[in-house]
Structures are given as structure tokens and as C-alpha cells.
């Protein structure tokens, strides 16, 4: 079996008496997109900070690309790119200057800032002060900055939070393009649709623990309930909505009876969302 890109074992971190990350373990394969989902305070940021060398774990261990996150911190940081949730660009400098600065800090030779800016859709305004950029443009520039060193692993924290659909799609395209070249992506997000769309697997984090980790499809299969939503017209002319749960023994007979005995107006299939599943597992919503 190939060495995992990320291997986490019994990782723990407390802020004083508050246990932020509670003995978590998981592996991520090379080229995989893992979505880390959880409400505020679930411990997502603390996990990212430990994996990216900003925090030292109090217990447990982790390797990134075979390197220990504590002993080989600098080598690990050379191989990863990070896009933060908050904007932290040099706003009095141009996009080109921002990217060139980080290319020099990563000691990347033959770096072409213009080419990278064109890829993220900022080609025309590369010389302009970043302060004049919209939020979407800044987010795309942060994504470009994360890609400066051509990293083997990307940590993306809420990469599309508050962005317009066009900017969101640009970021999604960039993430997909990165995975096609074998880059592993660690995605933390509140956006369940985004996680569902982009992630090969998702991990639900609640109160510092991973409460579920699987592909979105399998999680829906395991925890969710598929159903049909049927609108029927009653003899008195009123409209009633009936829900038929699938995957049960009596489902075929129920559906047969419904179609035989009622006047059907519309039929919709329904499946559980990741948010529904998270709520089912933890008893709390993702925004909480």
C-alpha cells in the first residue's frame, strides 16, 4: 500500500482546560480531497494549525508526505500551500509583487507570476494594488499564492466563503486542476454542497473528535434516508404531500398502491444532505 500523504495518530491539543482536538487519527491518500466539516469550535482550525506547523501537538503524532510535522516543520512547510479563511495579502503591493515575494520566500526559481495570475483569472489587473480588488479577486489571489511553490499538498480554509458564483467556480476549477496533478487537498468548509461536490471523503468533526469519516455517498447511504416526495390531489380538490421512504421492505407495495389509488400530481426524489447527516450524528447543526 502506498504511503499516505497525511497520517495522523492520536493527535491531541488543549487550550488550557478546553480540549480542542481529542485523540484523532486518520489517513489521507495522495491526490485525495478530504473535506473537514464541523461547526465553529469543533477543532478544525487547530488540526490545520498542527498539520501546517503553526501549533505543536501536545500528544500524538502526524506525518505529511512522510515527514514528521514537528521535527521536519520547515521541510513540511516547503511542500504545502495554505489559503486562509481571512484575507492576509499585502494590499499596498500588486498581485505580481505579492506572488513574487512568496516565490522568493519559498526559494522557487523560474517562477512566472503572470502565468499563475492568468490561471486564477486575474491576468488583466496584475499590476494594480491589491487594496483595489474585490473580495472574490483577493480570494483568488490567495489561492494563487498557495500555489506559488507548486505544493504537493494544499490546505484550504473556507476558500469560497462569501464569494459570488463565478469566483466560486474559478476556485473549484483550480482545486480540481490541482488534484489532477496529484496534489492532496485538505479542505475545511461550512459549505456542505461544496464539500459534497469536491471531496473524495469528508470527516465530521464535533467537539474535537472525528465522529464520521467516509465518502459523501457512503455517508448518505449509511446515515441518510432516501425518500420520494409525492404530491397527490384528494377527491375534495385539496393537494397533499406524501413522503415514501425508500430502502424499506414495504416500499414497492406502498409506491404501487399510491400510483394505483391516488391522482398523482408530482413526484420528487429526495436524499439526505451532509448537513442532515451531521445533525443526525451530532444532534447539532454545522453553523452552531
Amino acid at each position: 500500500m502506498a504511503q499516505p500523504a497525511i497520517s495522523v495518530k492520536d493527535l491531541t491539543f488543549s487550550y488550557g482546560d478546553i480540549l480542542a482536538v481529542d485523540d484523532i487519527s486518520f489517513d489521507v491518500a495522495e491526490g485525495e480531497v478530504i473535506g473537514f466539516l464541523g461547526p465553529n469550535g469543533a477543532g478544525k482550525s487547530t488540526v490545520v494549525k498542527m498539520l501546517t506547523g503553526q501549533l505543536t501537538p501536545q500528544n500524538g503524532s502526524a506525518t505529511l508526505l512522510g515527514m514528521d510535522i514537528v521535527k521536519d516543520r520547515k521541510q513540511v512547510q516547503q511542500e504545502i500551500g495554505i489559503s486562509f479563511e481571512f484575507t492576509n495579502l499585502y494590499e499596498q503591493m500588486s498581485a505580481v509583487e505579492n506572488l513574487n515575494l512568496f516565490a522568493k520566500l519559498y526559494k522557487v526559481s523560474d517562477f512566472d507570476a503572470i502565468d499563475l495570475l492568468q490561471k486564477v483569472g486575474l491576468g488583466g489587473r496584475d499590476k494594480e494594488h491589491v487594496a483595489n480588488y474585490s473580495k472574490g479577486m483577493k480570494q483568488r489571489l490567495m489561492m494563487a499564492r498557495a500555489l506559488v511553490s507548486d505544493p504537493k499538498m494544499l490546505f484550504l480554509d473556507e476558500p469560497t466563503d462569501g464569494l459570488d458564483p463565478v469566483s466560486t467556480e474559478t476556485i473549484h476549477t483550480l482545486i480540481r486542476a490541482a488534484t489532477q496533478t496529484g496534489t492532496t487537498v485538505f479542505l475545511t468548509t461550512h459549505d456542505m454542497v461544496e464539500a459534497d461536490k469536491l471531496s473524495d471523503r469528508v470527516a465530521f468533526l464535533n467537539q474535537g473528535k472525528i465522529v464520521a469519516l467516509d465518502t459523501p455517498a457512503r455517508l448518505k447511504q449509511r446515515f441518510g434516508m432516501r425518500a420520494l416526495k409525492v404530491e397527490v390531489e384528494l377527491p375534495n380538490g385539496e393537494i397533499e404531500v406524501r413522503e415514501v421512504t425508500l430502502d424499506e421492505d414495504q416500499t414497492p407495495q406502498t409506491v404501487f398502491d399510491l400510483f394505483k389509488n391516488e391522482r398523482i400530481l408530482t413526484v420528487h426524489s429526495e436524499e439526505a444532505t451532509l448537513e442532515d447527516i451531521f445533525f443526525d450524528i451530532t444532534g447539532r447543526g454545522l453553523q452552531g
Binding site: 487550550y15 482550525s45 494549525k49 501546517t52 506547523g53 503553526q54 501549533l55 520547515k74 521541510q75 512547510q77 516547503q78 495554505i82 486562509f84 481571512f86 484575507t87 492576509n88 495579502l89 499585502y90 494590499e91 499596498q92 503591493m93 509583487e97 515575494l101 512568496f102 522568493k104 520566500l105 519559498y106 526559494k107 499564492r145
Partner: protein, 361 residues
């Protein structure tokens, strides 16, 4: 520590500093002040030397050359009292009181030439030299031969305070402190506070760049600015003379002291407002030795209480009194100890900042 990354960060800080109003203000202000002081008190547009004469003997052959002299401003007074009063208030730098019989004594080779000269206590050396030279020439013209051959008695009297320092000399210490300390202190502090506010510090330290690299780059930038500013102020004031290497050593230590202090202040300050509050409140402690130097009657030991005295004093000793390394050794040792203490503190501050950064959400 990575030299290449530190150099990259210095380049970035230089680029951003050039557009930072506060940094520019701090760098430009001492130069502007220095030029203003040179303009008002110093040698840039030095006032024409002023000579007052009370001539009781109508000795035209002596006073005419002085009245016609293109480089001095000569005024004739009608009484000795008004002449004395003019010298006392500084309207005249030298006042000559020529007694009755003065003209005759000039013409008589054997007679003793006697007159009184009043000198304003705060008159500049340059003007005094020019006036004395003009007076000697006028006397030579009056008698038709060198005054060396005449018995001359001058009753010299000083009027006004006895301070021999010019205003530009008295203000130079304050300007030096402002340029070296403010230049070195403001840049690292302001730059670090900006990085904290804009959260770019997190972005930098998420690359292989360490927090130590970031702090060192800002400290070095402050050190460089401090050195440039100190040298510029000395040059403007015509004081970058004599032992240049010794002056550079003192400026370097002063720059290191102020830039280390600046980065520490920037690190412990929550934001720019807090930092400015500290500077406004405690800034007087930085400038105090310079302010005290404006008033020569204040005892020297009071200045020694303040750390910046040990930067200012050796610079003044070298530039104004021609002191050598041995003369300023104690000041240099005190400054080196202060720098060492600040560097130890800096190390601890970096550790604390690292923790704060990691715990920030």
C-alpha cells in the same frame, strides 16, 4: 535564521515603508528640522556680523573702512550707554567704545591706543573672527602701518550670558536622538504592527520563513535607517568630521539599541494606537538628554539617567571636543550592555509572539 529570506523581507519592508506616511514623517522630520535650525541659527544663511561703535573722538579714518566694509554691518551710536545696551540684547555682537583722543593716538606713533570692546556673550565664533579681522584691518588703514608696531590696550568686557555654544550646537544633540532613535525605533515597530493588523505575519510564517527571520529583517531595516539618518544629520550640521570610524561605531550601536527597542515595542503593543500612546507618554524619556543639552546650566549628571545619553554624549564628545576611543569607552560599554539586554528581551518576546500567533483564530 536564513540570510536569503531576511534579505527578501528587507526588500519588501523597504518597498512598503516608502509608502508609509508615518515612516516617511519620522525620517523626513529630523532632516527638515535640521535644515531649519541651520537656516535660523547656523551657518547656512548666517547673519552678517554686527558691529556697534561709539566714537567720542570722531576718528573717521578708523570708522570709515568699517562702515564701508561689505561683509559686516556697522552702526554708529551716540552714547556709550546705548552701545552697551545694544550689545547686551544681542543687536550688536561687538561694540567698540572709542574714547576722546583715540584718533590722535592712532596718528601718533608713540602714543598708546586705548579703547573698550564689549562682546555679546552668545555671539558665534565665526562672526567674532570676522569682526576682529575687520577691526584690525581698519586700524591698520587708520595708522598707515601695522598695528603690531603700536602699543594697543583693549579693555575687553563680555556682556550677556557666557555661553559659547551656538544654538545649532545646542540643538544638535536633540536632532541626533530624534534621527537615530526615532528612525530606528519607528520603522520596525510600525512595520510589525502593520503585519499583525493585516495578518500577513501568519502568511509569512506559514512558509518556511521563521518568525525570527521576520523580526531580524525589521530590526536590521531599522538599524540601517538609523545609521543613514544619524550620518545625514551629522553631515547637514557639518559634524561628520574627524574620527569617522568612531562616529560610525557609536551610530551603529545606537541604531541597534533603538531598532531592538522598536521591534520589542511593536511586538508588545496591541496596535498602532497603543504604540503611539507609549511613544507620546514615554517619548520624553528618549529625548530627555537632548532637551537637557539645550540648557547648559542643567547639571550633566541628570542626563546620565536616560539610556539615550550614552548614544548622544559620545557623538558630541567626538564631534565637538575631538574625543578619541578611550575618552568615550565608558559610554560605548554602557551602550553595548543596553543592546545585550535588549537582545535577550527580544528573544523572549519572539517566543511569546510565536505562541500568540499560533493561538490566534
Amino acid at each position: 535564521m536564513d540570510i536569503q529570506r531576511i534579505a527578501v523581507l528587507i526588500g519588501k519592508d523597504a518597498r512598503l515603508g516608502a509608502t508609509n506616511f508615518m515612516v516617511l514623517y519620522v525620517l523626513v522630520m529630523p532632516v527638515v528640522l535640521s535644515l531649519l535650525i541651520a537656516l535660523v541659527f547656523g551657518d547656512l544663511l548666517a547673519q552678517t556680523p554686527r558691529l556697534g561703535i561709539y566714537d567720542a573722538s570722531a576718528s573717521e579714518q578708523f570708522t570709515r573702512p568699517l562702515l564701508d566694509h561689505p561683509s559686516i554691518n556697522t552702526t554708529i551710536y551716540d552714547s556709550e550707554e546705548t552701545l552697551q545696551s545694544a550689545v547686551e540684547r544681542g543687536s550688536e555682537e561687538i561694540g567698540l567704545s572709542l574714547p576722546a583722543g583715540f584718533a590722535a593716538s592712532l596718528e601718533d606713533d608713540s602714543a598708546e591706543v586705548v579703547f573698550t570692546a564689549y562682546r555679546w556673550g552668545e555671539a558665534g565664533v565665526r562672526n567674532l573672527l570676522l569682526l576682529e579681522s575687520a577691526i584690525a584691518r581698519a586700524m591698520t588703514a587708520g595708522i598707515g602701518s601695522s598695528i603690531d608696531q603700536l602699543p594697543v590696550t583693549v579693555n575687553a568686557e563680555q556682556i550677556g550670558s557666557a555661553n559659547t555654544q551656538t544654538w545649532s550646537q545646542r540643538l544638535l544633540p536633540l536632532l541626533l536622538i530624534m534621527s537615530i532613535v526615532l528612525g530606528g525605533l519607528f520603522f520596525p515597530a510600525a512595520s510589525l504592527l502593520d503585519e499583525k493588523k493585516d495578518r500577513t505575519l501568519v502568511a509569512l510564517t506559514s512558509t518556511p520563513t521563521s518568525l525570527l527571520d521576520v523580526y531580524l529583517s525589521k530590526t536590521l531595516m531599522g538599524f540601517i535607517l538609523s545609521g543613514i539618518m544619524g550620518s545625514v544629520i551629522l553631515l547637514i550640521n557639518g559634524a561628520f568630521v574627524g574620527q569617522v570610524a568612531l562616529l560610525l561605531l557609536v551610530i551603529a550601536l545606537g541604531g541597534l539599541m533603538s531598532s531592538s527597542f522598536g521591534i520589542i515595542l511593536g511586538s508588545v503593543s496591541k496596535d498602532m494606537d497603543t504604540f503611539m500612546g507609549i511613544i507620546k507618554g514615554a517619548g520624553i524619556l528618549l529625548y530627555a538628554p537632548g532637551i537637557l543639552k539645550i540648557f547648559p546650566q542643567v547639571p550633566e549628571w541628570i542626563g546620565r539617567i536616560f539610556p539615550t545619553y550614552y548614544l548622544m554624549n559620545p557623538l558630541l564628545e567626538v564631534t565637538q571636543n575631538g574625543a578619541g576611543f578611550a575618552d568615550i569607552l565608558i559610554d560605548i560599554v554602557v551602550m553595548a550592555v543596553l543592546v545585550a539586554v535588549l537582545l535577550v528581551l527580544l528573544n523572549s518576546v519572539i517566543g511569546r509572539q510565536q505562541q500568540k500567533l499560533a493561538l490566534e483564530t
